[in-house]
Symmetry: C2
Subunit: 475 residues, 2 copies
Amino acid sequence: MTELSEAMRVDFAAGVARSALAGPTGDFAGWLADCRARFHTRVEPVPLDRLDGWSVHPETGDIGHHSGKFFTVRGLDVEVAGAPVPRWSQPIISQPEIGILGILVREFDGVPHLLMQAKVEPGNVNGVQLSPTVQATRSNYTSVHGGKAVPYLDYFRDTGRHTVLADVRQSEQGAWFHRKRNRNMVVLVDEPVEVLDGFCWLTLAQVHQLLRLDDLVNMDTRTVLCCLPFSGAGLAERYPGVDGFRADLVHALDEGAATAHTMGEVLSWITEARTRHDVRVREIPLNEVTDWRWTDGRISHDTGLFFDVVGVGVTAAGREVGRWHQPMLRPRGQGLAAFLVRQVDGVPHVLMHARVEPGYFDVVELAPTVQCTPDTYDKLPAEARPEFLDEVLAADPSRILFDAVHSEEGGRFMHARTRYVVLSSDADVAADHPDYRWLAPHQLATLLRHSHYLNVQARSVLACLHSLVTPEGTP
Amino acid sequence: MTELSEAMRVDFAAGVARSALAGPTGDFAGWLADCRARFHTRVEPVPLDRLDGWSVHPETGDIGHHSGKFFTVRGLDVEVAGAPVPRWSQPIISQPEIGILGILVREFDGVPHLLMQAKVEPGNVNGVQLSPTVQATRSNYTSVHGGKAVPYLDYFRDTGRHTVLADVRQSEQGAWFHRKRNRNMVVLVDEPVEVLDGFCWLTLAQVHQLLRLDDLVNMDTRTVLCCLPFSGAGLAERYPGVDGFRADLVHALDEGAATAHTMGEVLSWITEARTRHDVRVREIPLNEVTDWRWTDGRISHDTGLFFDVVGVGVTAAGREVGRWHQPMLRPRGQGLAAFLVRQVDGVPHVLMHARVEPGYFDVVELAPTVQCTPDTYDKLPAEARPEFLDEVLAADPSRILFDAVHSEEGGRFMHARTRYVVLSSDADVAADHPDYRWLAPHQLATLLRHSHYLNVQARSVLACLHSLVTPEGTP
């Protein structure tokens, strides 16, 4: 495998900077409009017990595909010692395979471009969104099932002639998936690449500007994006003419910038959190979950909160043609994921939350400062409200650095939307608070070289935060 | 929590150097002889189905304690797709709790000393061995069961006034334990510490010299030791007057030393290995394992290979007094764990093996170049022999840099001994070999700041390799 030396890797931060500051190129709007005109899906509700190709197991109630492929909807029994709700059960998507989410990068005139894909997925609220070059399940990439070849997959399966910029397994929603992880990869190629229908080279500046629009840059893109080597040394000179918060942010991505806590402290805090929390999780038959019920061919919680498991029939037209049925998870209410940002020693820091979710591979991951579905708390006593939620909801617009609504994975989740916010704040927490720590963005970049430290919501907000190095504009 | 700054952390490598080069202090030999005279255990065989306090479950055959505490002997069903033996089952020790292994460090006249404990454990071949300051199970440290207080535990539970030098969860034997992990901690204190009976302050030089003796520095000490911050910048001046291989080793611990592969490459290799291997493991009732049988109150494999599960009755005298029964795992044959070491660009590198073991938390960990029980292969065809085994067994003594036999954990394993070898080698492997990579020792130190990268055998050999910075001598 060819790989950047550490010096070259850090140096690629210069490429990232060139790409993030690039001027407009190509007719992105025209390409997107064309894709939108040609690629679409029609989605209709279908009762869960009448999905073609899927069946409800007569004994367990589990919902699985006849082939044994894709995923299974099962039950999860969860015990979290000492938590406000110390035990519950719920439906969960069981999909233990590790897929690949990969973005191909190539330099044009010295400016790295990302090969993005216009992809329609049934759960999207608006049809086409921008996805990574490759979204492949393990079945896809091992060709176990002899399915249709995934375009560009070989660049990620055989990296020998290329340069791997990022390669790490990361978790997905721990409240909805049990131990779901994908391999997040960024591969730099130095050879001509055929651009297939539905694909387009974009600069990071373009992707960053698109991130400010609602429901366009999909979840898989956001999580891979944030693994790009944004941090480095001597970054200020890479971003000439940048000032204000943008300059502060560039400084905060510099590995030499001051930090509220050392990496040793941060790692020890994570070790302590992962040791302290006693979380016991086991998959159970779906018909053994309590407080959930089948009604009209879907599964809902008795309170009407959390999510429903629903069935859909999909008709896709365009590049990917087909008709299929599948179960999906449809959240109740819009999510919120917010970073509180505060200057510490002149360096913007992000308040990270050590969060337990039942589906995590390793007990606790670092989540955004606030991550919840706000509507849920309207029906609960005031003391149940998440910390810092009210600060985010009541924030003066002048303090909001980033604010957009994005979609979660459209292949599993139906109209799952989250408001992503980055908020300038004066909040503080005790330096030895068990659940919160202020981290500098370059520390988050260090953690992202390893698996399972940042959860998918944190990775999404971090991609949004990174996007602020790019000036506003029309891609 | 007080924590070293990164600069101070690196600077503590200077303390490590002072401690590793310290001259003899105190009457260690006298203290050890005194402990050996006073602390001992008597161990007698007891049939597994006649262990006081333990019972064989009438349906599952699992062997558990009446209290539900300690550990359970269960079965493990293992599938490793594509492996020479793609499916097997075996007995396994199930102990999912995370305990604490901690060494307390204090500077005397500027030289860090480690508070070591003389501890007898029933599985030891020779009674007393040197253990960390604290070996505590989760039941001990959460006081759930109101047991006897563990001395010095508070230094590791409440680190607020102290300095955490290392704090990371690491796996133990993946062939014998299912998902067993301990939290490895090193805590630096700056206040007087009472030295209780059976405890003694030792310099790193003393511990390093003791590592060259057989069966004295126990497994828990070795794994915590190797997490000390050995690597740093500008190390050469920290080790004045050091020459030959010792000087090369100091250079290899310097974070600026050249490497055969970048950390990005190493991390991508690990990600690839953890994604490529399809390992499915589930606990099953002990009486469902195949090819194992109960004979004369113990459980053995039909071939007589691998290990036996045996019962013992223990009578302990000295500081820890008591009588108890327990099951133990007794390996057949002595193990071998060896590092092949080779100069790459003038820097000694270690050949690491990406190894699958069924009990690992995360599929693959980095193991020594060779890790096996050599006798096993006398009964198997030549092509089954592990790579590099013959090079180690036939090595000319002039190439052997380290060679000692150490005991594995004496609380669970009966007379489990492993020969630890560091061997200078001319071996080479393809740069893109899927299973092997040459890593510089400072890269191993970087990986050791995170959980689950190096297996327990690799951590033991690494502690032995580190010990070579200390001149030979009598502690």
